[in-house]
């Protein structure tokens, strides 16, 4: 995602507009009621939506629910889309709001998933997908890795939902602060300040690990 962002950042406005032209046609068809067009849009964005929801919630079940709610909302309200922003920003706005609601509910229920769970409730080893070229290639190191991962998740869980969301979108999803501001319906400056607070809190939480 970070690589995608840096690539998008180097494209000219004209190139981006041209690239969006087929998508605009799809959106218009979907607004006119074409299910096929909407399904095509879903396929274009479903992976990013699931990636974000999974990393934020740590649960496949919750990620599925967020996926379902997000695209049902998009289907219901696609008629209100005015092309004032990209469809990417619009759909992400829906997803981030649903994720924020989920994080707030967790805060209320005091749930704290230190590990990522799959649908059947089994723990997913996120670090298993990391390349063996890194230094975590022996069991001891893998344990350390797992421990670190849990610590990180715990520290992330102590952030406010908004701080968690900004840090997630900036650090893990690689979005620009201006885009994050649009998605969260705030300014770039506010997003920057939120990121600063989040990193400060995380550093305090993880000080013992340094």
């Amino acid at each position: 995602m970070a690589a995608n962002t840096s690539t998008n950042g180097s494209k000219s406005a004209e190139e981006r507009a041209q690239a969006r032209a087929p998508e605009m046609e799809l959106i218009r068809e979907a607004q006119a009621g074409s299910r096929v067009a909407f399904d095509t849009l879903v396929r274009q964005y479903e992976q990013q939506v699931l990636r974000l929801a999974l990393h934020l919630t740590g649960s496949e079940h919750d990620a599925e629910d967020i996926y379902q709610e997000a695209f049902l909302k998009a289907y219901r309200y696609i008629g209100n889309f005015r092309f004032e922003c990209s469809f990417y920003t619009w759909i992400y706005r829906i997803v981030t709001n649903l994720c924020l609601d989920q994080l707030r509910r967790r805060k209320t229920r005091r749930e704290d998933h230190a590990v990522v769970l799959d649908r059947s409730g089994d723990e997913i080893d996120l670090l298993a997908s990391v390349s063996d070229d890194r230094s975590f290639s022996n069991p001891a190191k893998e344990l350390d890795r797992k421990f670190l991962g849990e610590k990180i998740q715990t520290a992330l869980g102590k952030l406010t939902p908004r701080e968690r969301m900004v840090f997630e979108l900036k650090h893990y999803q690689g979005l620009r602060l201006r885009t994050i501001g649009e998605m969260l319906n705030t300014t770039e400056e506010t997003a920057k300040n939120t990121l600063f607070r989040a990193t400060k809190k995380l550093r305090a939480q993880l000080a013992e690990l340094r």
Partner: protein, 326 residues
């Protein structure tokens, strides 16, 4: 730059969000500030630690499950009714217009301007057409309909009497030039002649109209009632041109003895007119009225006080000649 600001900019720089000029400024600060250098190192460590909780791509099973579930939910939604689709289309079109407020305002202003201009041009063209129809009427000599009211006439531009006839051509203006021909006995022609006598712009027109009316009155043609006689009295009292006043006086001569108003107008002219010829003519047409001493009084006054010696003499002669007056 203070350290508090530097700490914020360290975070922005670490995530590639700091403008180039601020990076340079930050580097200069960092060179001399070990605390901020430590801050940067700690942030970089956090970034590395955070990567211990990496982002993973959703597996194919998760995607497939999610997609199937979504399709089932979409299939279960009731189809939108035609009025819901129509309403949405109307709202979208309205929203598109809302999204272009400047264009909408411009459209409104341009539309109002074009409408106003069009209306003005239309009214202008209608007025021009009436002018053109009048011009063509003049060249083909059809008669204009006489105006129903004096207010419709702007002014009288000329009066021409055909030789040896009672026919008179009067040119008058309403909003556009018109003309009319007819007999002096024609009430419409007489109305125009009376209007012409009040034409403030052309003494010639007034002279023609008053001369014609005076001639009619001297001939006894329809001057018994009000109208022409009143017009002649007005001309005698107020016209600035002595020739016009002279003709008016001549036209009123037959009515001095029978009409008190005419006698009074003549007496006023005898007392006040600036032209001695008119005052002399007024003396000559006065006839004694047995019951009216005003004539005697005026003649007596004029014979004593008029600035013109000739008029004093003439008035004295009349007084001497007409013992009834005395």
């Amino acid at each position: 730059m203070n350290c508090e600001l530097a700490h914020e900019r360290i975070v922005a720089a670490a995530y590639g969000e700091l403008p180039d000029e601020q990076i340079h400024e930050l580097e200069r600060h960092m060179t001399g500030c070990p605390d901020c250098e430590t801050e940067r190192e700690q942030l970089l460590a956090l970034k590395i630690l955070s990567d211990a909780y990496p982002v993973v791509e959703p597996d194919a099973n998760l995607i497939a499950r999610s997609r199937i579930r979504l399709e089932e939910a979409l299939d279960a939604l009731p189809p939108r009714r035609w009025y819901e689709r129509l309403g949405q289309r109307v709202i979208n079109n309205f929203a598109n217009l809302q999204a272009a407020p400047v264009a909408a305002c411009l459209l409104l202003v341009v539309g109002a301007g074009v409408g106003t201009l069009g209306g003005y041009r239309f009214a202008q063209s209608r007025a021009s057409r009436s002018v053109y129809s009048t011009v063509s009427a003049e060249t083909s000599a059809p008669q204009a309909v006489p105006p129903s009211a004096p207010a419709e006439i702007a002014n009288i531009s000329s009066i021409v009497r055909q030789p040896n006839s009672e026919m008179v051509e009067v040119r008058y203006n309403q909003v556009v030039p018109q003309r009319m021909s007819g007999s002096l006995d024609d009430p419409a022609i007489r109305q125009l002649l009376m209007l012409a006598s009040e034409n403030s712009t052309s003494a010639g027109v007034r002279d023609d109209s008053v001369g014609l009316m005076a001639a009619e009155c001297r001939l006894g043609h329809g001057c018994k009632g009000a109208g022409i006689r009143d017009a002649l009295m007005v001309a005698l009292r107020y016209d600035k041109n002595a020739g016009v006043r002279q003709k008016a006086l001549q036209g009123l001569e037959p009515y001095v003895s029978e009409d008190v108003r005419v006698r009074d107008a003549v007496l006023e002219a005898l007392l006040n007119d600036s032209d001695p010829r008119i005052r002399t003519a007024a003396i000559n047409i006065l006839e004694p009225v047995e019951a009216d001493t005003s004539v005697r009084q005026v003649l007596y006054s004029v014979s004593n006080s008029d600035r013109n010696p000739h008029i004093r003499t003439v008035s004295r002669q009349v007084l001497n000649r007409v013992p009834e007056i005395q």
